[in-house]
Symmetry: D3
Subunit: 249 residues, 6 copies
């Protein structure tokens, strides 16, 4: 890293943006979290329903799914409302599939019974990293929704464990002006060479890894630097999650 | 009104819910307002674009339009995401047409030039009256967006007037347990005989009036009682708008 | 009203267009009515089906719903066929919701049993006031369909009353060149200041009231003048309905 | 043909239903015809527009196209409204393609200039043979629309001929209880072995021939009997068209 | 036929293109056939499913249906992918309805039990005649799928007959430069006066006949010449089918 | 790796399936390749069009895009046809976005001029790894299409280089029964713990990396083992591409 290197935000290369996780943001959902990674703000709600998709009926296990949306003016210029265009775009579908897979990785679906928990992640304001913020916040909403089920006695811990096993958080990393950096904001995201979204659990295992070379192809040593950055960042995000959930950090 | 009459919220029959109008709620839009009527919260953004719909091209005037959405878990139980279902429902289209017409009523579109201002009204939390809150908040976002155009010199006042002429606000009224009441919340809305949405300007003129008899048909004297209640309520809402805009109330 | 005032059609301000209600217009439907308000012609059919929407299943009550369509060349210039565009527009959905609500207001749905009556209102020729003509005609088709059920013994009167309670009719009123007028035709509709659709029952109660200020906002005294005009017009329309049904007027 | 053979309607095997062709049925279209083949009633309008589809732009020739629709309760039981289902079914698309091709066969498109004439064929009441009635009626609407263009001087005859060359009409034939019959009504159509739609011009040439074996495959001699029946029927339909157009029969 | 007449391909007027029918083209389907009519190549798969459409449930009989698609670059210039445009075009729907009807004509649906066999016909390369190749190839795939059911004992022959009764094949014929020709390729198809698709069974009966006059209307003697050509061509195609199925020709 | 470990196919852990790349598979496209990874067969065509998407108009550069489809019976059980369902699923959109990004990474778009090359990748038969086969085959089709442009003189090499810079190929890797393996087939794919798709260029740089933990989260050393396997596999695939293109390997 050259002496002259600086990020648009003035952050250090391995520095997250300010993270805020606010529970109980709206009233009706079983879990409702506003998560902010700097200027990126995503409202994540968890809704419990007593039904499962057709392919799971009668199997005695539950389902976790996610939907993602961006308010039309969450971005610098207004984008079309997907409901009005009549379909969700490829980017939206890709992101909501990623969120769903990531959160299913930390749930014991048998313990849920035939219930679906839907994580709705709606971006109120976008400044890069909306999908990683969404995963990080949705995890907290999911924990609250599962606790709501436990509190009402609808489900019971199995062998002393709740259906949520460990934690899941996500962060983006990338190569900006030749330097690996953590948690890209929009200014960096639109001007970087490689962009990678990393989802990990609190045991340091990888759940999803999606890297894209925007400019030049990235090398193996860059991949290693990026995953190291992500690992450190996710450890901090997990601490934020635990603090929000008032668990010992 | 019988002595025994009481509203679920304990409000007086002619009492609005707590109103909050917060400008600059998000960063990117030319106008961005969070409006709260009690537990109902709507994010209204105003976006300026240098184009008009095909039917106005070359006519030298602008356009004001609105879109309305409800986050899936803004409500007591989760409703399907319209983007995912592939179309906006009839209720959504009806509401966004109403918002658009209401705000066009206070704009000198010639003074705008060939620009479109889109008011996106997205309900973060619903407790009755989302469309009236949306109109009331969108007005403030619209004023901010027009001021943004004036500040940048893109448009100029005509004869000393800005393109926004007067103010527009809206409130619901209805007959709840036989009594005309102002600003129905969800508990009242789902159990009332008549429900009326009223849009007025600050000169006391009606812009839109949409009344529906849910139970028994309403009589002319009830219509008068309801419009009187609405008139008084809208005067207070206009004062809230002016306070939010730091105009003398 | 100034001496110089005249309507394009030469009608008096409080004069309906020629009204024609023709029963049995087509052969298959349980009720089939062609209703004409002057040059506006709408075919209204009532179809009985032995099923109800999902939200009513097992509740022992029926449902009344409406669909509205406009033939592509019902209008001065051809408009796109909605079936071909792949969706119904906002105006269409808004109108069919209005027709449905209006007719549900005069039906004892418990007495229907688990049946749906669908009112299809298709505009063959448009000259203003299609939605009010549709409601007025659909009422007659509905009465015929209910009579068809009674005649076949599928339903029975309850306490001596048929499931259709009273009558429902609709008319538009508006302020044209400063004068309140009844039953606007297209020439007036496209050049008026205020346009209001009024649905009432035969007891003089309001079922729906939808007023829109196209030009200047309307005042309370104008609202009163308009509702008075509508009241008188609807009384005449109810008489036309009764005549068509061969009931004593 | 056995002595015992009889058609549900009592018609002779080679007998058309009563044919009625009523011009000027609605007011706005350049051509507007109600065509009745017995209880089958189709409203055919011809709309002239000064544009052509993209593939014809700049080529100096016109286009003839058709759209077909069935009112939901034109049939014995109500069918879904295609606009509400969000797409036109395969049968609808097949029929409107057939109508369009059939009418293009009698038009000198160069003589039309860059104009489109759209034939909207909407079935008000169905009793079999809607597509053949539609073609027969749409031809008359087309002639009226072309005459409207000639009358206004927008187009001119070329070499003394109008852009409509000859006439086009259509009829169905089929094998009902072993006997070839002309112009099937619904009772026959739903119980026949072979069903064939034939479109011919007034010179006795075939324009379209679409035969389907519903039960047993049909033989060559049956094909000949059917086309002979169709030929005779179409000659009568052309006479009806000429009478409606007040041309010498 | 003038001495100077020649087809673009050099074929005789009554000559088929090279026909190839390759069974077992792909591995998963119960029947899978690549059929080639010269440069036209269509992959036809037959899929067996243990369910029937709603209208057949509980009736103890099966269903045969077809779907047709064209790979975007099967043609000279790329056409839009229908999945991407969001709907199947009219031509596609028309063809798949034709294929389905044609194959239902040779199946004893009672003998199938409540099963659906879907014939997917996907055009890998198009050079005219894709629908007739599809029918000819789909027949072979259908026979293989039915044999698969017989081999597994899921269905049994009735009175010694399998559920497939006889054979079905199809070919196009047309009038090219005034001469009736068999099996049009793309060069002929886009430049012919009359185009007719003929589906017949192996007993010489007609199942479908769809003729279209592209240029001048065709006369009765031309119709006879065309059907004679088709008859001879289909006899050869049936022989190709039998050879592919290793049946005595 | 335990002694008892074996892959369903009997392959070694680092062994590709048989790879076949067949150019000129269909006739019309500018590039047309059938690529087989064992039983997985994908037809990749490259189509050149003289237009670019709206966002690139007037910028003097070209565009590379991809579409992906699966024939309904490419799989073990039939899946719905996306054209018939009316939309492409999330998986399809995700894959075609991946293919498009991967191939754009090896093209000098300025050198293409305002042209679009569309890579259509249609799966004829699926046995795991369809997206990686598609990328590997589409590269060859792309090279052929660019050569077609060079051969016709429509574009010219810049500084002696063609617009295709280097090569791109892709392979899947995963952890099957605890062992990292190369190029998963369907049997492995549906029963593995981690699944990763890797796209690299011929210089050993990563273009895309998408890893998903299906069962337990994967560790950093597993990530390294997987990327090493992929690296070796892609080197072999690049050699196959060069052989197919008759370039020195």
């Amino acid at each position: 890293m050259s002496a002259a290197f600086s990020r648009p935000s003035g952050r250090a290369a391995d520095q997250l943006r300010d993270v805020r996780i606010e529970r109980g943001y709206t009233a009706h959902a079983e879990g409702s979290v506003l998560v902010c990674f700097g200027q990126t703000r995503v409202l994540c709600t968890a809704s419990v329903e007593n039904r499962v998709p057709a392919f799971l009926r009668g199997k005695g296990e539950g389902w976790i799914t996610a939907e993602y949306g961006m308010l039309p003016r969450a971005t610098h210029t207004r984008s079309d409302r997907e409901a009005s265009r009549g379909k969700q775009g490829g980017r939206t579908l890709e992101i909501q599939r990623l969120i769903g897979r990531s959160l299913r990785a930390c749930v014991d679906r048998k313990a849920l019974g035939e219930r679906t928990i839907t994580l709705d992640c709606d971006v109120l304001q976008a400044d890069g990293g909306t999908r990683t913020a969404a995963i990080t916040g949705a995890y907290v909403a999911l924990v609250d929704a599962v606790q709501w089920l436990l509190d009402r006695g609808e489900i019971k811990p199995r062998a002393g464990r709740t259906p949520v096993i460990g934690a899941v958080a996500a962060v983006s990393v990338g190569i900006y002006k030749g330097v690996p950096v953590l948690d890209l904001d929009y200014a960096e995201d639109s001007d970087c060479d490689t962009d990678m979204n990393v989802v990990m659990n609190d045991g340091g295992g990888f759940i999803e890894l999606q890297g894209t070379a925007e400019g030049h192809a990235f090398r193996r040593d860059e991949l290693e630097a990026l995953t190291s950055l992500a690992e450190a960042g996710i450890a901090q995000l997990v601490a934020h999650q635990r603090a929000a959930l008032r668990l010992p950090v």
